[in-house]
Symmetry: C2
Subunit: 339 residues, 2 copies
């Protein structure tokens, strides 16, 4: 959301959050006397409006480049592409320009620009848990925020979608529909998104009395071909799954493609569910049931975290989680026994 | 193609082009005594190997940033996304890093970085004919090259796919199959890609004795929804086309989606052809007949032109055209009367 005309004030935030202006001020400055719940509501309102505290604004005014780099190595993944516009707009609302670095390898000379003073901060969108880049940024005292992915051992701000909540909603839906034979087609085990989604599925099924066996959980890149190959393999097994939970939408579209080729009807023979709700997932030919990540909220939150980090390098680290929303389209159905 | 190990020499270029080393030297320095055909062959070989003349290399060595900006506003278009990797690698082979600017509006502060000394040159990939950015770059003496799109009134190097040759191949195929009722679903009239492809279709059909009437030629953004809406409209007409030529693959996929929704069989009732051959077009569920743009060759050629322009701001302007290749998949068929 671009704020039009004047910049939002703390009074706007107070109105939206339903609290007083002094409470907004205390909440955003991390002062005591504000409940965690209120603090969260104020932050959400500030994110929604693109509000920046005056201290932040002053500190920001002394920065040199007013430029932020977004690092994204997976531009073939439409999810990350769909995140670029919102990141660009959220940064622009705070007076920052965005440059995009798509180097994919840690030793890449592309990353020099991140530490040579050209940018005031960095948003890391596709980090693998094996990356050395965050340490490099830390060493050069370059403010950065993890967006969508986190790297556990690194003390840093991060902002992700609610992977656990999203997958719990998917599992609840499929269990309610009578499915008992599940499989998962996940992304690389070196990504937090894939790890969290897989663990959440395992836990949610276990709570329903169902174990996800190792051979029912496959991994590959976050690509169409992972879904295509994985689906074909699953369908060659003796005990075919009736419900397949995919690590992202692109994998799910690959699975739909294989189902189409193998003439296995979706959803009557097998339900397929994705994660992200990329634009393509709503196309008539797919109508994919999936979990929506609100890329605007993710972008605004990432931007708020980075601006705060730039303004105050010693602030406590924050791990923000944006809600996920189940989108029920047409690739899920009741298990045969339940019809 | 990344050259591995040592950098290519003029001898490598000579070997690949089948000429002597002095001829390579004369051809690339624009000296007389080399036929246009040989010059072209030498340039192609130099592009294929990523070879840079020693003068260029020397001139380049004195540059400050060793950074090139790629401007792309249409990142939702998979074609431009598929061009980024090859551009990145072609630049890296010459020791340049790439930054990506996705500002989409002429007055955008994102463009400041292009003229403030941060980059040595600019590749413009999604220019509309209405853009003011090229003039701004010219005024600041920033070397730039148009990639895939050109802007007619601007004196600049450019590098495009053979839009005319590609569409001629499509028209020849469809005419041979007996089609007489054509329609076109094109992109914005403010893009050279769309203009050239539309004009080429009109000319090729005229040569076959068929006029493309105005209402048979529709325009929109280079998006899925342009194809979806356009196809639906064409099918409501009294005289439905039996062959639809699309301005790019994304438009063609939108048309396939509408055909699927309307239960109009492709290709038995209508043939649909795209342009670009983006990765998705080869997916089983699409198997789109299209024209392939060799993004690697396009990227290498763009890079060669930019390096030459950086090394010699006064060199004659070159308009390079990369060959297009017809890819016959499964969305075209003979007209009913011809079966």
């Amino acid at each position: 959301m671009r704020t039009s005309g004047r910049s939002p004030t703390s009074h706007d935030v107070a109105r939206l959050a339903g609290v007083s202006q002094p409470t907004v001020s205390r909440a955003l400055r991390g002062k005591p006397g504000v409940s965690p719940e209120t603090r969260r509501r104020v932050r959400d309102a500030a994110d929604a409006l693109g509000y920046v505290t005056s201290e932040s604004a002053r500190a920001l005014a002394t920065r040199r480049s007013l430029r932020v780099a977004v690092v994204a190595s997976e531009l073939a993944n439409p999810f990350y592409v769909s995140l670029l516009g919102p990141l660009h707009d959220a940064l622009a609302d705070s007076g920052f320009r965005m440059i995009l670095i798509n180097g994919s390898d840690d030793a890449s000379p592309d990353f020099d620009v991140l530490v040579d003073g050209s940018v005031d901060g960095v948003l890391l969108t596709t980090s693998q848990t094996t990356t050395a880049l965050p340490q490099t940024l830390e060493r050069h005292a370059v403010p950065f925020v993890f967006v969508n992915r986190v790297v556990d051992d690194i003390r840093a701000d991060s902002c992700t979608v609610d992977n656990v909540g999203g997958i719990e909603a998917v599992a609840a839906l499929l269990l309610k529909l009578g499915h008992r034979a599940f499989a998962g087609l996940f992304g690389p085990t070196t990504t937090s998104t894939s790890r969290e989604r897989e663990a959440a599925l395992r836990d949610a099924l276990a709570a329903g009395g169902i174990a996800l066996r190792p051979e029912q959980s496959m991994h590959g890149d976050f690509t169409f071909s992972t879904g295509d190959t994985g689906f074909s393999q699953l369908m060659r097994a003796v005990d075919r799954p009736t419900a397949i939970v995919c690590g992202n939408d692109v994998i799910a579209l690959g699975a739909l493609n294989a189902a189409n080729r193998l003439a296995i009807p979706v959803p009557s023979a097998v339900s397929i569910v994705g994660f992200d709700d990329i634009p393509m997932s709503s196309w008539d030919m797919f109508r994919l049931t999936t979990v929506r990540t609100d890329v605007n909220q993710l972008a605004r939150t990432a931007c708020r975290l980075l601006l705060r980090r730039i303004a105050d390098p010693h602030a406590a680290f924050e791990r923000a989680v944006v809600p996920a929303q189940l989108i029920e389209r047409e690739t899920h159905a009741a298990h045969l026994a339940n019809r």
